[in-house]
Symmetry: C2
DNA sequence: AAATTATATATTGCGCACAATATAATTGGA
DNA sequence: TCCAATTATATTGTGCGCAATATATAATTT
């Protein structure tokens, strides 16, 4: 019986892929990153680097820690990423003289100027796509993020 | 003027991090993967490997291509991942004699048995968390995924 | 002030993701 | 039948993302 099929297809089976919340989030993130990729490449940015730039364009300077708190990332991810951005001439990394443990990240002139090209990224990606209900979706996911962040004690 | 601040804080600024849809998705995916990590490690699985197992537990055998179509991943990601799962004794990889281009993935006995432990994963992760509105969120993100998948012509 | 503890970032090692490319098998004409 | 185009997977190289650990500085305690 049930030849070649590993499991029953009870729609209440907790392991059905289509019942998981995590999977569509995972798939959407991958698809979005794939969509952003070619557009951002023209600016010399990867997708996570673009997020770092968004934070810095809002407020500058920042420490590695404050960037990580905003993006839910830790130094294991940010340190090498920021070094690549420094090598690309987008940011400067300097030890804070007030507290030598901290590393201060600030934009270089070309990092600031890049913003002028970046302003067209959102509309380039939105073009031709219906944005119906997109704000509600964003806010729902944001509530989930805050829930997850507080529960994982995420001060990464 | 505007000393040390890179950009104005106009709430309609298209580059504000909090206006992006992509960022909460990105953050939620990272936080969730971090949450799943320790639980799945007891089963000897990573998070993407868990997703592959969910697909195989539903239907087996599958080809690399059919797994990729379901998970929106391509062979560049799946081939090394499946080789690690083969090395861990969870799956078998064999060329399809009908079409030697295809690689057929099927569960080993221990791959099938692992399901008995995996059934507790969803409830372990849900425990103590309020699941209010979670189904609607999942369906919203799923609609977004389908939109993105068709538009990126994603037959990866 | 010395010892302890806490904090901030860096390093290491591993496993994804993905673009670009390569290889091999199959299909579909001319 | 040959051959060009298509399809399926593999390979290579780069950049995350993260756990675990290391290092150095600062704050706190004694």
């Amino acid at each position: 019986m049930n030849d070649g099929v590993a499991a029953a297809q009870d729609p209440r089976d907790p392991l059905l892929l289509d019942r998981q919340v995590c999977f569509p989030l995972y798939a959407a993130t991958n698809l979005l990153s794939r969509l952003y990729g070619p557009v951002l490449r023209e600016l010399g940015l990867t997708y996570p680097q673009y997020l770092v730039m968004l934070v810095l364009w809002e407020k500058e300077p920042q420490t590695v820690g404050s960037l990580g708190a905003r993006l839910y990332l830790d130094s294991g991810t940010l340190t090498p990423l920021l070094k690549r951005m420094e090598a690309a001439g987008l940011v400067r990394r300097t030890r804070d003289p007030e507290d030598e443990r901290r590393v201060v990240i600030e934009l270089t002139e070309s990092g600031k100027i890049l913003r002028n090209q970046a302003v067209y990224v959102p509309e380039t990606l939105a073009r031709g796509r219906k944005s119906e209900g997109i704000d509600e979706l964003r806010d729902s996911v944001r509530r989930l993020v805050e829930l997850l962040a507080e529960q994982t004690g995420s001060k990464r």
